[in-house]
Amino acid sequence: MNTTAIKPGAGRPLKKYTSFGQTVRNSLTMAYRGLLKIRRTPEQLFDVTLQPIIFTLMFTYIFGGAISGDVQSYLPVIIPGILVQTVIGTSVVTGVQLREDMEKGVFDRFKSLPIARIAPLAGALLADTIRYTIATVLTFTMGYIMGFRPEGGIGYVALAGLLVIACSWAVSWIFAFFGVIARTASSVQGISMLVLFPLTFLSNAFVPVDTMPKWLQWFVNINPVSHLVSAVRDMVNAGHIGSEITASLIGAIAIVAIFAPITVRAYMRRT
């Protein structure tokens, strides 16, 4: 045992509230835990490593000829589309893992520690940005191997990557919400897919919007995912920063503004 005697309960300095600084520190520690877990179980990165490779190959060769005439001229269209679709898709895992995590015994300890209540949630979401980064890098790499040469140059590619990661982080709050309120991990997966599919497929990610019926065009054009895809295309293909970026950022902020508070509220009530 340790040689110092334990201070009695009455003689301790006790804090009533956790400060903002402590909240940030606790969240970073929880993010560090997320990274350690990824390192310990690298198989959980299968989705972010294989999906960009397989989807990019598949969609490019299936749709390339039909939509753009040939694969080469489809690449500038599909790579931003597939990038957004894949990275946002991986944010579903955030909710699933959060649910699994919350069921484990270790969460009891987190709940009984004098730490910021929000830290386990914030940390998990923060650690997941590493997954988005991996997916982003792999998708661009796949594109490059298949012959995609972004005209905007490496700087704009990196910028576009950052934008996608930031927006996916915003979207992950939606799935984190399901993760907090759902009863089982598989139901989180189920509900999240129902949200994810319309959001990513009812967009301009894979095909030009003007081939769609009018009523659908209306949704596709207001879908934040479409704006994000357009923003990425603008940046990587033309080195252009325009209104689409503003639109996608506003979309991202709106999602966080709605879902972060309700997720945190639900989480606090649950813990």
Partner: protein
Amino acid sequence: MNVLNQRSIEPNNGDWAVEANGLVKIFGDNKAVDGVNLNVRAGTIYGVLGPNGAGKTTTIRMLATLLRPDAGSARIFGRDVAKEAAVVRQLIGVTGQYASVDESLSATENLIIFSRLLGLGRAEARRKAEQLLEEFGLTEAAKRPLKNFSGGMRRRLDLAASLIAQPPLIFLDEPTTGLDPRTRSQMWDTIRRLVQSGSTVLLTTQYLDEADQLADRIAVIDRGHVVAEGTVDELKTSVGTSSLHLKVQDSNHIATARQTVEQVLRIPSSLNSEASTIMAPMANADLVTDLLIALREQGISLVEMSVQKPTLDEVFLTITGQGVKEEA
């Protein structure tokens, strides 16, 4: 482990570590905890004894701010668990029935993360982790993932994690359930040393001998109620330190045999669930000779006679009086 034997700060014995008043928790239509009162003096080990499903874990979870009581109130060192949960959490360490450590990480990583969360710096956290691992004999296994840990190692790590902040009150939910006898007595030693260093321990157990070994006071809990409370000695006198089990050859003689037993031993007896064995607390071993002679004189022959430590069943039998009333 180097032993902490000096108690440098004498805990103020007027201090209550735990004061629980009429705690109630209802799950659906099941009253898991139904008006539990507990008072634990600082610097002592308090045992909550009860069978599975008695409400032990639920009670601990309420005291540890993990569950909100549906009624009643509880205070930890004078701080209300519901109103001042954040403060209470700075005063407690919780070791759950199912190890509350991260399965996918190593022992060191677990301790470092908990230390960091408790505000220790990077180097300090590493030192603390190493120190705790050494104290709990886990240094060799420090880097292995927890999946390969035995039950005993996991419990030790769990307890180590509860001690990082050196909380003055530690909750241990069935700390030795499922452990082999050797690991069990190691765990007991650890708990004793903990209290020597000035901590208060509230532990739950299903084993009477564990409560006997460790606890200063015991609450016996059954179906959400505290059915008995007192020092180990008080409890033992009500149950007897050991009990005499008699099996008579002819079942027609049971009633007579019981009378004889109660006359000679001057203590109420009971029957086991199959109504084949007479059980009586045995306070004075000397009287057994008299009893056997008395039985021989009445021509009652025995199939079996044994002296056993009272089991939890018997404690309940004696305290709640259930099981006896069907036959009597």
